[in-house]
Symmetry: D3
Subunit: 239 residues, 6 copies
Amino acid sequence: MHIRVILPVIGESLLDSVRREAEAWAAPGTTIDCVSLERGTASIESEYDEALSAPGILQRIDEARADGVDGVFITCFGDPGVHAAREIIDAPVVGGFEPATLTALSLGEKVGIVTVLPNVLPMLNSLARRYTIERRIGTIRVVDLPVLGLEDHDVLLNRLFEQASDAVGKGEADVIILGCTGMLGVAEELKKRLADKGFDVPVVDPTGAAITWLESCVRLGLTPSRTTYMPPPAKDRAV
Amino acid sequence: MHIRVILPVIGESLLDSVRREAEAWAAPGTTIDCVSLERGTASIESEYDEALSAPGILQRIDEARADGVDGVFITCFGDPGVHAAREIIDAPVVGGFEPATLTALSLGEKVGIVTVLPNVLPMLNSLARRYTIERRIGTIRVVDLPVLGLEDHDVLLNRLFEQASDAVGKGEADVIILGCTGMLGVAEELKKRLADKGFDVPVVDPTGAAITWLESCVRLGLTPSRTTYMPPPAKDRAV
Amino acid sequence: MHIRVILPVIGESLLDSVRREAEAWAAPGTTIDCVSLERGTASIESEYDEALSAPGILQRIDEARADGVDGVFITCFGDPGVHAAREIIDAPVVGGFEPATLTALSLGEKVGIVTVLPNVLPMLNSLARRYTIERRIGTIRVVDLPVLGLEDHDVLLNRLFEQASDAVGKGEADVIILGCTGMLGVAEELKKRLADKGFDVPVVDPTGAAITWLESCVRLGLTPSRTTYMPPPAKDRAV
Amino acid sequence: MHIRVILPVIGESLLDSVRREAEAWAAPGTTIDCVSLERGTASIESEYDEALSAPGILQRIDEARADGVDGVFITCFGDPGVHAAREIIDAPVVGGFEPATLTALSLGEKVGIVTVLPNVLPMLNSLARRYTIERRIGTIRVVDLPVLGLEDHDVLLNRLFEQASDAVGKGEADVIILGCTGMLGVAEELKKRLADKGFDVPVVDPTGAAITWLESCVRLGLTPSRTTYMPPPAKDRAV
Amino acid sequence: MHIRVILPVIGESLLDSVRREAEAWAAPGTTIDCVSLERGTASIESEYDEALSAPGILQRIDEARADGVDGVFITCFGDPGVHAAREIIDAPVVGGFEPATLTALSLGEKVGIVTVLPNVLPMLNSLARRYTIERRIGTIRVVDLPVLGLEDHDVLLNRLFEQASDAVGKGEADVIILGCTGMLGVAEELKKRLADKGFDVPVVDPTGAAITWLESCVRLGLTPSRTTYMPPPAKDRAV
Amino acid sequence: MHIRVILPVIGESLLDSVRREAEAWAAPGTTIDCVSLERGTASIESEYDEALSAPGILQRIDEARADGVDGVFITCFGDPGVHAAREIIDAPVVGGFEPATLTALSLGEKVGIVTVLPNVLPMLNSLARRYTIERRIGTIRVVDLPVLGLEDHDVLLNRLFEQASDAVGKGEADVIILGCTGMLGVAEELKKRLADKGFDVPVVDPTGAAITWLESCVRLGLTPSRTTYMPPPAKDRAV
């Protein structure tokens, strides 16, 4: 099975760590490759960034289709370009939000998300409503760190723990989701710290949830519905 | 008052008729100007088209901000780029969907939308959920004509009437909205035909609803909330 | 354009200030006149008051119809008599709640309302559900002043600011609505105080929202749907 | 126990049959008396009628309070004046809609209502939303007879059966509610006809549901919550 | 009228007090008898307990059908076995949750429930969603006492008062429901204590609500809908 | 990885085919074993059957815990015993409904389910509400065959195709779910027949969805939240 990971930002400095993380979650026999964008933004932290990155993402989707990949992970928690992508490729496509939240629904009553900056809260609330799962989202919190400031694991873990334990303690969350696909390699440690405090709740890593989601879809023979995701009519396009 | 109309497609052939239509709805004292996109698609009939047109729209928003306009109408019923735009300009910005549907809510119980092609139905359903008004949308129908095939008023009116009268007759609509900003100059005639059949229901023209909405916001001193539409953080952007 | 403002209380002492306020929001060319009730209550602060004022309001609607006015504003935030009125006049009719909240939905995610007394909270919650927008109402607060005790602008502004800034600070509101049409001439100053505290959120004045809403409907040729608001059957009525 | 039935229309011709019907449903030991209005309309078939009847109803509530009754049934399916009444009397008050629909929820999945005229559909939809039970209302149908034309039991039963059996057959109703308190003495026969057709579904008579609801509340010591139904502040009232 | 109370636990020590409590709420002429289970658990405080008690409950339902009882109360607030029971008996069947919450909806805006242990909160939230009334449940609190530890009325009342007064004070409840049918004989005293603090809100006893609900259904001739509660097909069953 | 499949019915005749089907969906390295119940019913087609089978299922869960399995699939589309099971085992547990529907949500707008008999429709509607996904379920249809009558693939496929193609054609479904885990080995052929008719929609097999769901949870280290699924308190239990 061949999964293409699209890192929807410009620059190649993060490609290696993103690919390694995706490979760590993948099943034996799954081939992962990873591309970033030619055109787009350095990170996605607003509707503005998301809009600017969309054409660059769709260019990568075009290539993925040509390459005959089996599934595509657009590695950003805001699911940028996901629905447009499904219109033009016969393979499952997910971002970070949808597989993580749907997975979480089977684990507990209220889902708590801890993301990066307050700027993205309206975007995530909009996604929750679009997917009609807003009544199960108990809280969306922030660590107040930009996407490009997540590399210090100690700071990140401390802030994640602070928000997650407060959310669970107040009854606002029964499952915690890491709300940014850039929060690499901290899910297990966060789960352990929460358990030490007496909060035995699952922690969902969005990259892991996305990779396994795609693998499941491929094994189940599932691709986007063509009555929902109709192929775009032919016309002039100059982008 | 200065309102900028952004026609979110490439090409300039439609600019004159769009500007004339907007001017026809505008109040005395409102100045309308109209621009199309440098980069984008010939029409918007899918999530794919919408995504491809977003950067071109945001470029025009940047110019609108620099020009100090009082309000912006992105003239497409799918509200492309609207939320991203609100993050970067201190003036009200609307597309076609939001002002037309909110206006309709004050006129009757169930709102019926008649749009162009089945391709855009999921997009409109998603907007309805995003705006949390989905329970009032009684039906979304199509005339099954592409955006660029709406110029024959007789065909368009016949199909609009067919769908709208069926929807009202079945109790699925109490107010009709023209679901494409390219359906110019047919609202009044459609209303008359419906009334002749005994269906005395209002018909909302999305261009008219958008222009008057913006004028009202400007007069009321209302601009996008900065706790919802936070300014995007500074970063590299290459689009 | 001729807009009739119905002040749905007995007594004429407030008529002048209400008319002046409405005129201040009206467009050039709009004629405003203003009437109060022969029968009703001194103010509306309960379902009881609202019910008692309804026949007096409908008598004024009858006159407005006879006078051929273009639109009617029943100037109370509880929308008293609005839906009954729409059954008997072919012109747009609004109260204070509906145009203010629908306008607010286009400006930010969560709407916060600051009204007069706790007595009216259930009435406003019921309206929000009737209009199916309850999921967007983040909070409804009170200044704990009766309608007839709003004339001291300093006290009113201080309490409005206290509630509004607390609501925005806690993430319960992105847009503030003045929840009583008797809170005249304080919207701009409240917005300024909030901005000084770092909360750059719009403040919607319900009188302004209602007047511009009616003007827009008149210009758009929109009147109440006769499949929702059917004319009442003929019968004996002794009121 | 003393229950006051308020027939919210002018005229006394129906008082006897309404009182007899209420007495037929009442428990031994319950005293029923019945009053109509001094001011109001001959029947209630619109928001307009409902608004005009409200002060006359509230005058009767005032008297009921003075008389120390234990519960009040305002015998109309539109629940006119019910919420205002609860603000001014320490006894349970219901109309026809609320007890019938809440009772029906415990009997089957989808509730089907068959009422009189299309004019009242928006009013009933609004009540369903106000009471937040709209998702369980599978259909609201009409017999297309005015309130004052229900006395021919054969015609009424035929039309009720036609609508109810169609609704059950199409899966839109598992429980049928008679949607007008003037549909006296037909519930049992309708249930029998439906059973003969193979539709073994309960039929709720709104008068019976209201009388037993009030009796239950009185026995349970339950009166309106004063945090929801606060007493109206003192003020001038001229109605 | 003959009502069978099923105490869905093993052991007979509580039978007398449960029967006396049910009889105290019953109308003159209602015969109450009371049985516990042969197989089941000592109390129900989890989905696990509820599942284990179901066959024992259904055995009692079979007997109730054979005995020709008029109604059945399964006296547990989690409504165990209620929906399965309705499939096999032509008489109304309720648990503690449904009649108490539906009754409460007619008394105030937000319903507050105070139950025993945090273990049952997800079960109650699930019931609220199943019955589609979750939007009216303002809060569900616990006294943090097990079902078999409720006999000390002073401790129970203190904890009920603490939670209920906090809920009302914070605007999370306008009506209080005792969230365990084992909280016998404390509703009136709790109501008094709340009133002394200035919170004039109704307190619903679930046993009283259930008994009067069944009596009303019997008098109204209402039994479970057979399009919702279809008789189970014949087959081998070995339980 | 070791997955235990619990076939929640009595009798062993189906065990082999169920195990083979589960193994066919499993990843290399996953060990599947399969048990049926000592106590229960021959099939599950009602709330009654579901309730009777619960203790037998929980006995198997106890054994699964003792055996240290990594995940449990209770192979029935009604999710019997699933939530009780999660309270007593530290491994992911699913039935057929939840993983199939959550998977379907990522593939198209409206989910259509085709199940066995009308008897189970209320049960499935209740599950949809419990999981808060009811707004995405466009239709639930039946093939009108009992669980033990599904072995004739031609009849089954014809009826599945009839219902599924009608649902897609009417716009009520964009994704089809086989609504019984006994509909073995027909998903692919149904998808092909729908595609031949021009309906290019995914068909979700609930067994496949469940097995891959469990495998994903195990790989992601996810087990039931202990703030939602609290361990049942110790007490006497005699089942």
